[in-house]
Structure formats: C-alpha cells, structure tokens
C-alpha cells in the first residue's frame, strides 16, 4: 500500500532537508545555548543542558560560597542553583534589582546543578571550525583555563564556551565540606 503512494512535494522537501543534513555532517556543527552573564555572552553545548525553566524558590544552603544560591525543587529532584555572574564577578550594580528569571538545568548523572540566567537563552549553531580553542589568552581572566573550551566568533559577537561540569569539578565546592571547627579555619586567613 505504502509503495503506491505518489511522489509528493513533501517527499522532495524531506529529501532536500536530508541532503542539507548530510552536508551539515561534513562540516561538523555544534548547537549552543547562549546566555548573557554581565555584558558577556557565554555558551554551553546543547548536550550539556537538560532543560530551561523559570527559576523556582531556592532554599539557601549555609556554609557554601555566595555564588551557590542554594537548592531548589525541580520536578522532584533537588538541584543546586549557581550564580555564575557572582562567581566570575560580572554582576553590575544595576543588575541587582533584576530577578534572575531562568535556570539552565545541567544534564549530568553525577552533578545535579543549574545555572541562573536573566533572559531566555538563545540557541546558535556554529561550525566546529569557528571555535577558537582555549589558549593562552585566558590566563589573565577570572576563569580557570581548564573549564573554558574556547571562544566562538560569530559576526561581531564573541561567545565564551564553557564546560560547566568541569567548572564545578575544579571549583573548591567539594572542599568546603564546611567544617564547624573554627580552629581549622583560622589557618586559612
């Protein structure tokens, strides 16, 4: 039955799109989720993101750094919400009143974390060859080199590509283990 279907314009379109997909395969592309931190644009590979949701109520977690906003209930999962603007020192005073309305939930089995953003993040498809892989230029920034994958130039935009999981890993978050022994901590000063 299906064999007897006439060849329609839809089929042509489908084939055409398949062709472009193939062409795209040759030039490897990456889809990014792009969001603003301060005035800068940051990007995450779309594979790293599980979902974008409007930020739920956050319960603060004592004895964590300030940029750890706390934990929130996202579909029954307890997710740690991070403020990267605060971490990178990108927050501007005039931003303080604007609510960080959205949370990018990371896709990871190990880490349950989300990142706060102010505006709905956009998507952008870039060629892999457009990514300037991380090199010496970052050593003067606030970012740890190993959590930056590279920089994407698209027109006159410059998007910093980060590896969120790596960023959390290398962060001292694991070490805070928040001892309640004051004697230990005095040594840190």
């Amino acid at each position: 039955m299906a064999d007897e279907k006439p060849y329609t314009i839809d089929d042509v379109r489908r084939e055409a799109s398949r062709e472009t997909e193939k062409a795209a395969d040759v030039v490897k592309t990456i889809q990014l989720i792009v969001f603003k931190l301060g005035d800068e644009e940051y990007g995450l590979s779309i594979d790293m993101i599980k979902e974008v949701i409007s930020t739920p109520n956050i319960a603060r977690v004592p004895q964590t750094p300030d940029y750890v906003k706390g934990v929130a209930n996202i579909r029954g999962n307890i997710i740690t919400v991070l403020d990267l603007e605060q971490k990178f020192g990108l927050a501007k005073p005039e931003h303080h009143n604007i609510k960080q309305n959205f949370t990018l939930v990371l896709k990871s089995d190990e880490y349950k974390a989300g990142v706060l953003v102010r505006q709905v993040p956009g998507t952008l498809t870039v060629k892999e060859s457009d990514i300037d892989l991380a090199s010496g230029f970052i050593q003067y920034t606030n970012l740890d080199e190993s959590s930056i994958i590279g920089v994407v130039k698209s027109g006159n935009r410059m998007i910093i590509l980060i590896d969120m999981i790596r960023l959390i890993q290398i962060d001292n978050l694991q070490n805070i283990s928040a001892s309640i022994q004051p004697t230990k901590n005095t040594n840190n000063e």
Binding site: A59, N73, I78, T80, E110, S179, I180, P182
Partner: protein, 588 residues
C-alpha cells in the same frame, strides 16, 4: 531447619530463572551461532548455577552445569565450534537441568548421567582434536565407543559408571513423553532496584501533594478526617513499596561462612560462625552500604578477637572460637551485633595508643569513661593491631565503618570484657526513606531535624542561658548541656573570618533579654546539645533525599526534603554536628 527451607526456596527460584535464561540463550545462539554475548552469558549463568548448586549440595545439578560450563569455556576460547546438530544435545542437557531443578521440589528421580557423558565426550573430542569439527554427529561417536575407550571415559568421570549404564540412561531419557515438558513460571519476580527507587520517588511526591492538599483543606475550615481515607491509602502504598525493598538479612549473613573460614584458615584459628535473626528485614540499599563494613567487623573479630588455638587451650576456653552474627529489630532500628568470645579489648591499651597518636589530649584522657575510650577505635588513623595483617590491614578501617553507619543515620557501639570477648553493634535504620522530623524556622527558612535525634523541645529565656568560656550552656533536667544558636553554627566561617573572638556568643549578645527562645535538645552517643532556633513549626513525616553533587559534602546537612508547598527543606545532620563539636573539644 526452616532456614534451610528458605535457602532452598531462594535457590530454586534463582535456578529456575537461570534455566529459563539458558533456554532463551540457547535459542538465541541457535539462530545466530556466532553470538559472543550469548556464549558469554551462558558461560556465566552455568558457572553461577554450578556454584550455587554446589553450595546447596545438589551435586547432580552442579555436575551437569559444570560440564555445560566447560563446554562453553571451550566455545569461548574458540576450541570448540558449535554446530546445529550439537544444539539438540545442548537443549536436551538444559531440559535435564530443568528437570533436576524441579526434582528438588518433587523428589522425582531424574536421569542425567547419559546426557552429561554425551557432553563430556564432545568436550573431550574438542580438546583432543581442535581441528576436527565436533559436528560429525556426536550421536554416532557416542554409540561407537569402543570398550577401551569407555573405560578410559569412565575413569575420567568423577563417578565411574559403565557404558551400559549410560546407554540405559540415555534410552530412558529418549523415551520420555515430550508432553511432560511443562512450562514453569517462578513465583518470584525480579525487578531492577532502579525501578523501585523510581516508584518510591513518585510516592514521595504523592505524599507531598497529599500533605499540601490536606493543608489547603484544613485552611478552608474542613475537617482533616474528611481526607483520612486518602491519607491512609497513600501511607499504605508507601509502606507497601518500602516493604518490597526490604530483604532478609540472612542473605548477607550467609556469605560470612566463607569469609570466616578463610580468615580463620589464614591465621590458623578454629572459628565457628553462628547466625541469629536471619529473618530480620532491612532496606536493600542499607545492606548494600553496610556490607563492606560488616565484612570488616567480622574479619576483625576473627583476626583480633579470637585467640589462637594454643592460647585458648591455655585459658581453658573451648579450642574452637565462636563468632556470632545477630540481627534484631526494635521499632525502626535494626541492630546487627558481631560478637566474639575472644580476648576482649584492653581499654587501657586503647587509651595509651590514642594518646600516642594524638587523637586525645592528656587532659581529656583523665576524664574519659571507658565507652569514650572505645570510641577512639573509630577515629581515623587509629588501628589497635600491633602489626598490619593481611586480613584486617587491608580495605576499610574502623573509621570507615563508623562513617558508613552515620551516613545513613545509624551508629556503632562497642561492648567488651577483657578475656571474655567483644560485641560490635551496628544500629541501622530499617528503611531510609521515611522518617519523623521536627520542622523549624531559622531566618525565614524552614529546616528539619530527624525525630530520632531529638530528645526534647524546651523553651528558655535568655537569663537561663549562661556564657561558659567561649561557649554557652544551660540546664536541662538537672544536667548542664552546651547550647548553640544554630544561626551562629551556620555562619561560623564568616564570623571567624571577621575575627570575632567569640563566634558562639554572636546571636546571644544580640538577643533581647526577655525573649523566649525555642531550643531543640538533640542527642547522639548520649551527648546532649541544645540548638536555639527562631521558631518551631510542626512535626511531620518526611521523605529524605540525599543531596547530590556539588553540595553533597556539607557536614551540616544529611539531606533535604520537599515540603507541601514545593519548597526544598534541608535536613540537619545531627550526628555530624555533634561529633564535630565534640571532636573540637576533645583535641583542644
């Protein structure tokens, strides 16, 4: 005796499932003769079945599955090439295996020697002549066995049987009515734990929704009783699912026979293991977390507790030592005791060692009671063994045992009497999921404390709390207990960074003289601590979830729960808090 029956039932369920799997795998393999995964799986299953059957003393099943295992070992290594004709034998072997398994229940007499021999012949041929394909039907070879060969063959078998016997068996089998082959379906269902976790999570959500609904309902002036049925049904559902996750502790206990045997053999000791309370049920996850610790405790008892045979004779003890594993449950707690009748622990020696290693200070050593000294065994870096032996020196230390227990809200206890033996006790929650909790508010945020760590809730006025050195103290039921403003504990790091001299006095100094203070008296290891909170909210059953990375390492909290309004509420880790407060005292 009842236990034997129980193991038999478990073996039966597992064996029946193995048999079923083998059937499927053979069918799969027949279709795709090159399937490596199927070969590997068959090898693995026959190996397991052999081991289990041997352990249970079902020698027929063990022998047959052993031959099958051998055959698939050859297939795996490529020395034996399977062909379609050979499958008849394999299926026959598997059918016989199934009959043998069923015969455990029915007691039927199943002939299996014939098929076993057939497989052995094939196996031998394959080993002798790897090039020659076994395919040239085994059937024929079997029948053409020359007298000399059959003698040789019989000599190779663990139980000698003559060739005629074989043929008889064979024909017996061939004559069987195929209609007798019944499909058996096991009464047990195997479910991946992941699915149960998922189910439990959903039920947790349901309970939260229920509580939210009840809260709204009562807010509108309705009676709680109107929703009593909903409450009861959801609770039943929750306990039902939790019940599925429970396993009998005997499962784990029975593995210790071997461990005790090995350790005892290594140290030239004679030790009997006695198991008690094997029917006690405990959450599977808890058992999984604690199994290594239990292994450590048992090894320790054999290695350090039980004396050598000569020593025991000299002391007039029976030459065979006894290690007892006992489980018993009390309310929501399961106690696992590891008891030995060995030499006991020398408290004075422990104290000296703890001093040497700087775990305790001389000042503190003078006022410690025996229990406190014994708890030093669980400090990191403490090992009472003079030398590190192969047995107890490797793997986990005692501190890991304690940490594992505390990570799931349990604790460890030691009782010992010099010369008579020691008992290590693990007190574990029987289920991890639901617990009673006290909710309170601190700085407009709601937190929870598990009820099993809550001694009392008292109301104090500021003048009833006194500054004692750098801390605070008050009295509760005639006892003086340390008091902390929880707010100060939470912000300790900041306070210290700001160089505050008395971080624990911070909130106290800023408290109004006549303010009534809500104090939760919490307890761990017989130590009482008062925690001052802003406001008590309610008592409630909560479903605690552990915190995931990156906030999984914070000592203050054991986990979190989701409240009726959807907000997250952190659960205080009382064990962590109290141990840390006391550790600090001990060393300073």
């Amino acid at each position: 005796m009842a236990k034997e029956e129980e193991y038999k039932e478990l073996f039966l369920a597992e064996a029946q499932e193995n048999h079923e799997q083998l059937n499927n795998l053979f069918t799969e393999l027949e279709k795709d003769i090159a399937s490596k995964t199927a070969v590997d799986a068959i090898f693995r299953i026959t190996h397991t079945l052999k081991g289990n059957a041997m352990g249970m003393g079902f020698s027929a099943i063990a022998e047959l599955s052993h031959v099958m295992e051998d055959i698939f070992n050859e297939v795996k290594t490529g020395r034996l090439k399977l062909d379609l004709l050979f499958f008849n034998s394999l299926f026959k072997a598997n059918d016989t295996l199934g009959q043998l398994i069923n015969s455990i229940q029915t007691g039927a007499d199943v002939k299996y020697i014939g098929i076993k021999t057939k497989l052995e012949v094939a196996l031998r041929n394959a080993r002798q002549n790897t090039a020659a394909p076994v395919n040239e039907n085994v059937q024929e070879q079997e029948q053409n066995i020359s007298p000399t060969e059959s003698v040789e063959l019989a000599a190779n078998l663990p139980f000698a049987i003559d060739a005629t016997q074989q043929v008889e068996d064979e024909s017996d089998y061939e004559g069987e009515d195929p209609a007798e082959q019944k499909i058996t379906i096991s009464d047990m269902v195997q479910v991946p734990v992941r699915k149960l976790d998922y189910l439990l999570n959903i039920i947790g959500e349901l309970i939260i929704e229920r509580d939210a609904l009840i809260a709204r309902h009562t807010d509108r002036g309705h009676k709680v009783s109107e929703l009593a049925r909903l409450q009861r049904i959801t609770s039943d559902l929750q306990f039902g699912v939790m019940d599925i996750r429970l396993v009998q502790i005997g499962f784990l206990f029975s593995k210790f026979h071997r461990i005790v045997r090995d350790v005892a053999a290594l140290e030239n000791k004679k030790v009997d293991l006695v198991l008690e309370g094997t029917d006690i049920e405990i959450d599977r996850n808890i058992l999984r977390i604690m199994s290594d610790s239990l292994v450590h405790l048992v090894r320790n008892s054999v290695s350090h507790g039980i004396e050598s045979v000569e020593e025991r004779m000299r002391l007039g003890k029976p030459e065979t030592g006894k290690v007892t594993l006992t489980a018993r449950s009390e309310k929501d707690t399961v106690y696992i005791h590891v008891t030995d009748d060995g030499k006991g622990i020398d408290v004075a020696l422990i104290k000296r060692k703890a001093l040497e290693k700087g775990i305790i200070t001389p000042d503190f050593a003078n006022i410690m009671d025996d229990d406190e000294v014994l708890m030093c065994l669980f400090e990191p870096g403490f090992s009472s063994a003079e030398k590190i032996t192969e047995v107890s020196g490797r793997g986990v230390g005692m501190d890991v045992v304690k940490r594992a227990a505390e990570s799931i809200g349990g604790r460890v206890l030691i009782q010992t009497e010099l010369g008579k033996g020691s008992t290590f006790t693990l007190a574990l929650p029987s289920s991890m999921a639901v617990k009673g909790a006290l909710l309170f508010e601190l700085q407009k945020q709601v937190f929870a404390i598990a009820l099993n760590h809550t001694e009392a809730v008292i109301s104090l006025q500021k003048h009833e709390i006194h500054k004692v050195s750098s801390g605070l103290a008050s009295s509760y039921l005639g006892k003086t207990i340390p008091v902390f403003f929880l707010h100060d504990l939470f912000n300790l790091d900041n306070r210290i960074e700001r160089d505050e001299l008395y971080p624990y006095h911070h909130t106290f100094d800023r408290t109004d003289a006549f303010q009534k203070l809500d104090v939760v008296v919490v307890t761990h290891n017989n130590r009482l601590v008062g925690l001052v909170v802003d406001k008590l909210v309610q008592q409630k059953e909560i479903v605690e979830k552990t915190l995931s990375k990156p906030v999984d390492h914070i000592d203050l909290f054991s986990g979190a729960t989701i409240l009726g309004n959807g907000d997250v509420c952190l659960v205080l880790n009382i064990i962590g808090i109290i141990s840390n407060l006391y550790k600090e005292k001990k060393t300073h």
